[in-house]
């Protein structure tokens, strides 16, 4: 640690940020895409593109549930689970799903979906197998390929480091609020520092909120001790206590007719007259242990737990209902989780979340580039780069340029892989990691400006390929989406084109720099204030 408080904070900000910046970039990148999880999944399933959200969506829900139960009774009477997924504003399709026979030793056999166009009532072609936006959602905190619990611990520590870096950053970058609207271009390190400051300060409340609430979502894994002290079965006991609908019933093999659905629906609409139902599921249908679970949307309430009712599937009696009035502790935990997941957001707020997420990615990227750039600038002409510097530069190139390319590879694979391929969804993910690995291997050899330039072009081509390949392999394209008001699909293609343009601009800028000699000193563009900050 250094002598003064300011220096200590600077030291901490630099090292705490640098140690986990690449992991944080991945977490922020995947998290930002996850705000549009449903829209990404929709784009990945062209069979569902023709569906328009019905006009009288909520008014149709009762008939849709009754029709769904009739369909499932006729199609899968022996199944262990039925699910009726009602159309929402973001997922316009109606889905009558049932559980496939469970393989030996498994607790769940997977869903067999049957998609329906809610406007016309027609059955839809089975969509292609894909993880869609759920891949990015799980990647955001499960990191794929890593054991889930280990991954979450790693993500927790990275979030903790991020929180420390954010707070120390506010302390050390004294002028962030004064220079809030200033970005000095073509000023070397000063420009990188400005980019870092502006991207941090413009979404500072978001950065602090998303990092803190990220830790809160996993708080029971980080700190289970109070629950372990108060409950015999620890955290599970706590959750069962605060969630009355978490009732577990033992499955029975004795047959019993399912209660008339009308009576259950009457009870639901008596309790919730204007309910916007999202899911109606039945466990052990046609058995004595049958239970019916109904979930409703929370709308724009800052609340994560969905209102739920649990009914006995044989006599139709209400077993449990989620509480309407939470205690202050429950409100605190639940609202913080809701803030993090952003499921409450309407399209406007969702885009604002997305914008702030992008700002977070830029903040992390500029931070790690700046560190390497400053070390390079301080080196003498004949001095060789240390292993640490090479490692940081390699990781910068591999992560910052590799992730966008990997994401494009994921979407291109979605369109180009044969539909009959076994475990197709996993192959899409494999394409993501192969593309990322290729960039990582590429950056192992050289990490100079030329490599950034080449990868910028590769990324620009990859980004423009996504809407192009989509147009060539499906019936829709960006123009038809615009004309048919398919905003989710239109926005997806538009974002890809904007990214392609930005990467092309980056390549153009790098090309100019490649043809101009590198300045040997750093003093040309450094102001007095930046010198103080540059001591980091």
């Amino acid at each position: 640690m250094k002598e003064s408080f300011f220096r200590s904070m600077t030291w901490m900000h630099t090292w705490v940020g640098l140690l986990v910046c690449w992991l944080l970039y991945l977490i922020f990148f995947a998290g930002t895409i996850s705000f549009f999880r449903d829209e990404v999944t929709l784009w990945n399933q062209p069979a569902l593109h023709s569906i328009q959200a019905p006009q009288e969506r909520i008014a149709q829900q009762r008939e849709q549930i009754i029709a769904g139960v009739d369909y499932l009774k006729a199609t899968a009477p022996e199944s262990g689970r039925w699910g009726i997924y009602l159309p929402t504003e973001r997922e316009p399709q109606l889905n009558y799903a049932y559980e496939k026979p469970r393989p030996e030793g498994k607790r769940f056999g997977g869903w067999q979906d049957h998609y329906i166009n809610p406007t016309t009532g027609d059955s839809l072609q089975q969509p292609r197998e894909t993880k869609g936006g759920n891949f990015f959602y799980r990647l955001h905190f499960d990191l794929h390929y890593i054991d889930v619990r280990t991954a979450r611990w790693i993500v927790c520590f990275a979030s903790l480091f991020m929180l420390v870096a954010l707070i120390s950053g506010v302390v050390i970058h004294k002028r962030i609020f004064k220079d809030m609207f200033s970005f000095r271009k073509n000023k070397g390190s000063r420009s990188w520092l400005d980019g870092h400051n502006v991207s941090s300060v413009l979404a500072l409340p978001f950065h602090i909120m998303i990092t803190y609430t990220g830790l809160i979502t996993l708080i029971f894994m980080l700190f289970p001790y109070p629950a372990m002290t108060a409950y015999d079965d620890g955290v599970r006991g706590l959750f069962n206590d605060v969630t009355p609908t978490n009732v577990r019933t033992k499955s029975s093999d004795v047959a019993a007719p399912l209660t008339p659905i009308d009576s259950v629906l009457d009870q639901i609409y008596t309790n919730w007259p204007n309910a916007d139902l999202t899911r109606f599921s039945i466990k052990d249908p046609n058995k004595t242990s049958a239970t019916i679970t109904v979930r409703a949307s929370t709308g724009t309430l800052v609340r994560d737990q969905t209102p739920t009712m649990l009914f006995n599937g044989v006599d139709g009696s209400l077993i449990a209902k989620s509480v309407d009035e939470y205690s202050s502790t429950e409100v605190f935990y639940d609202s913080l989780t809701a803030l993090h997941t952003g499921r409450l957001a309407n399209p406007l707020l969702r885009w604002l979340y997305f914008l702030c997420g992008i700002a977070g990615c830029i903040m992390i990227a500029t931070g790690c580039i700046m560190w390497a750039k400053r070390i390079r600038e301080r080196m003498k002409k004949d001095q060789k780069a240390s292993f640490g510097l090479k490692l940081v530069e390699g990781l910068n190139l591999a992560t910052l340029m590799g992730l966008p390319l990997a994401t494009c590879a994921f979407f291109i694979a979605n369109r180009l892989l044969p539909l009959s391929l076994t475990q197709r969804a996993d192959k899409e993910i494999l394409a993501f990691f192969i593309a990322w690995l290729a960039v990582a291997l590429f950056s192992l050899f050289k990490r100079a400006k030329m490599q950034w330039y080449l990868l910028a072009w590769v990324n620009a081509v990859a980004c423009i390929s996504v809407p192009l390949i989509n147009a060539l392999t499906t019936k829709g394209n960006i123009v038809s989406y615009l004309l048919n008001s398919q905003w989710a699909l239109f926005s997806f293609d538009l974002v890809c084109l904007v990214c392609a343009l930005l990467f092309a601009l980056q390549a153009k800028k790098l090309r100019t720099q490649l043809h101009t000699p590198t300045p040997t000193t750093r003093s040309n563009h450094v102001t007095k204030n930046s010198l103080v900050e540059q001591k980091a």
């Binding site: 609207f181 406007l348 707020l349 604002l352």
Partner: protein, 111 residues
């Protein structure tokens, strides 16, 4: 339309915060701001930002707080682009901002 009013107020507030600063004022108007002008911009900025927050919270409660944070981010981003790359456009942008504010404000009052 209420969202447009909330955002216009937020944008106006940050624009005033920027104009209260010597360097940004000089970039836009090619003149030095007087002490009084800077103070007036600051007062206008605080009134505008508080009004924006108030409208967000009255209309959407907790959700409004989130929207307000988003509006702040978008406002700062837009202003950073204008002040850093096209300071001469700030005047036009400010006029557009005020027009939008008046239109959305009138709609809010009437309906």
């Amino acid at each position: 339309m209420t969202e447009l009013l909330q955002f216009s107020l937020c944008l106006l507030a940050f624009n005033c915060f920027a104009l209260a600063k010597f360097n940004h004022y000089r970039d836009v108007f090619k003149a030095r701001p007087s002490q009084k002008q800077s103070q007036q911009f600051l007062i206008a900025a605080w009134i505008s930002i508080l009004l924006s927050l108030l409208l967000c919270v009255i209309k959407h409660q907790g959700y409004g707080g989130l929207l307000f944070c988003g509006y702040m981010a978008l406002s700062v981003l837009l202003l950073m682009i204008f002040y850093s790359f096209k300071p001469s456009w700030v005047k036009h942008m400010s006029v557009l901002n005020v027009v939008l504010l008046l239109l959305s404000g009138s709609y809010f009052v009437v309906y």
